[in-house]
């Protein structure tokens, strides 16, 4: 590690510290000098600096904004590929073999592997690296991320983490989602190319036509193609795509269905080729620009949702109840709280919103007497 690596250096720099959290080792103050140094190191090959930037992004808040500002100018046209599918379908194994292949051809892939956090304790077991030993040995940068309470199959920090990796020079960047069910489709906005992985026995033709996951694929992979039922899975997917063509849901390019046996590296070269082809297709037209704009809007929406959810938690915790608590319909309670929340937001613009805790009745009258609306 170079002596000028800011990670190794003892930062005497003072700045706005993003407070040492209760259950975490004391960290260095994160100011813009520190972040800029990290970005410089990261861009000149320090994996440790890249890893530290990813931690800051995961932690969120002002420091993450500093990283976003410092990495954004370096975001070029790297290809971002989403890998999604049900638990156990082979996402990690495919991603591991695929990135090993790409690294072997002189490219510089990175992986963000997302696994779920416990909704009860916040803890997580991040097990994707188990399947990516060869990739790590081939120089692929792999980072495991927990969802930390975010729904939709990804962590809130994924777009910021992708920026860090792209700024560091990684291309392509693979995002591996948690094992998904039917509706966790956030990855499609976060990536340029979405690969949906299924395994034989995943469902029948009716499953294939249900809404959600299968609507978002740019490419399908039937993994474990050496197992019975692989041909059936392929047929069901092709039929589903046929119907999508009839109803006009497929654009100019029909999503391909590829067969792989990732544990034997079968079909992986064809998959790599198909992923590259999709990127060329996007880059050749206006597709890539649309992807990037969609990604920006999705990131804004995700953060907005997050802030609103936190505010809603606060309003719920502070709720003094209605005179008829227990008798009030849940929907009525929700409307009453939404009302208060939205007034809180408009009050926040002028700062100093009074907590309504002691003013329950007045708030229910929608005229608080605290001057928020006047």
């Amino acid at each position: 590690m170079a002596a000028d690596d800011p990670v190794a250096a003892d930062p005497a720099a003072e700045g706005p510290s993003v407070g040492p959290p209760a259950d975490h080792p004391v960290d260095q103050p994160v100011d813009h000098v520190y972040v800029d140094d990290l970005v410089t190191s990261s861009r000149t090959g320090s994996r440790r600096a890249t890893a530290r930037l990813l931690s800051i992004v995961e932690r969120g808040g002002d420091a993450a904004d500093l990283v976003a500002a410092a990495t954004h100018p370096h975001v070029g046209t790297a290809h971002v590929v989403g890998m999604t599918g049900a638990p156990g379908s082979g996402k990690s194994t495919i991603t591991g073999v695929l990135t090993t292949l790409l690294a072997g051809t002189g490219r510089c892939p990175a992986v963000l592997a997302v696994d779920p956090s416990s909704p009860l304790t916040g803890g997580a077991i991040l097990g994707d690296r188990i399947r990516m030993g060869d990739a790590a040995a081939s120089g692929v940068f792999i980072r495991s991320m927990a969802t930390r309470g975010h729904a939709g199959g990804l962590a809130l920090a994924v777009p910021g983490a992708v920026r860090v990796l792209v700024a560091a020079g990684y291309d392509p960047v693979f995002i591996e989602t948690v094992g998904v069910g039917q509706v966790e489709v956030d990855v499609t906005a976060a990536a340029d190319t979405t690969v949906v992985v299924v395994a034989p026995g995943w469902g029948d033709a009716v499953q294939a036509n249900k809404a959600g996951l299968l609507e978002i694929a740019d490419l399908f992979v039937v993994n474990k193609a050496d197992r019975p039922g692989a041909a059936d899975a392929r047929r069901d997917l092709e039929l589903m795509i046929d119907l999508s063509v009839i109803t006009g849901r497929v654009g100019s390019v029909r999503p391909a269905v590829l067969m792989t046996t990732a544990t034997e590296s079968e079909g992986i070269e064809a998959l790599a080729g198909a992923i590259d082809d999709h990127f060329r297709l996007l880059a050749g037209g206006s597709g890539l620009a649309l992807c990037r704009e969609r990604r920006r809007l999705a990131e804004v929406a995700a953060h907005l949702d997050h802030l609103l959810a936190l505010a809603a938690e606060g309003v719920l915790a502070d709720d003094p109840g209605s005179p008829s608590t227990g008798l009030e319909l849940p929907t009525a309670t929700a409307r009453r709280l939404a009302d208060r929340l939205l007034r809180g937001v408009s009050g926040a613009v002028t700062e100093g919103t009074d907590r309504p805790g002691t003013q329950g009745q007045a708030n229910r009258d929608r005229r608080t007497g605290t001057g928020e609306l006047e």
Partner: protein
């Protein structure tokens, strides 16, 4: 609203990140799986590497995952060789991350492991509270990183 309130839903800061692995030829990973579960249920993020890791794969994972603690499980009586080896590999990589070793470790060996820089040792039958407290203390002791 404070920054930390916005970004840590639990309000207690980001979780401790622990890399768990078995080093070398040692096929008994049941204990490691139990420890992974204990740490998960204590709110930590466990990067699980599992069986047949080398000092190289562990150092790579610690670096890329920005881990706070490394936990190694050993049941093959190799701890006096492999324990100091992983500590040295991390130091050589300029990664000052504490190493906790769990497994069947005779008391007589503990001073040598401590002298080699192993942060803490957990024996068989260590209760959940002790495992969690030991890893947490190791992570806290790592404040200089």
């Amino acid at each position: 609203m404070g920054t930390s309130e916005i970004d840590t839903p639990t309000g207690s800061g980001p979780p401790i990140r622990v890399v768990l692995a078995k080093l070398g030829l040692d096929g008994h990973d049941r204990g490691l799986k139990v420890v992974a579960r204990m740490l998960r249920d204590a709110g930590m993020e466990v990067v699980y590497l599992g069986l047949r890791q080398t000092t190289g794969t562990i150092v790579t994972a610690v670096e890329q995952e920005d881990a706070d603690v490394v936990g190694i499980s050993m049941h093959n009586a190799g701890h006096l060789t492999l324990g100091p080896m992983i500590v040295r590999a991390l130091v050589d990589a300029d990664l000052e991350v504490p190493v906790v070793i769990g497994g069947v470790l005779p008391d007589v060996d503990l001073p040598e492991l401590a002298a080699a820089g192993v942060a803490a040792v957990l024996g068989p039958g260590a209760p959940v509270d002790e495992v969690v407290a030991t890893v947490r203390a190791a992570a806290r002791g790592n404040g200089g990183r």
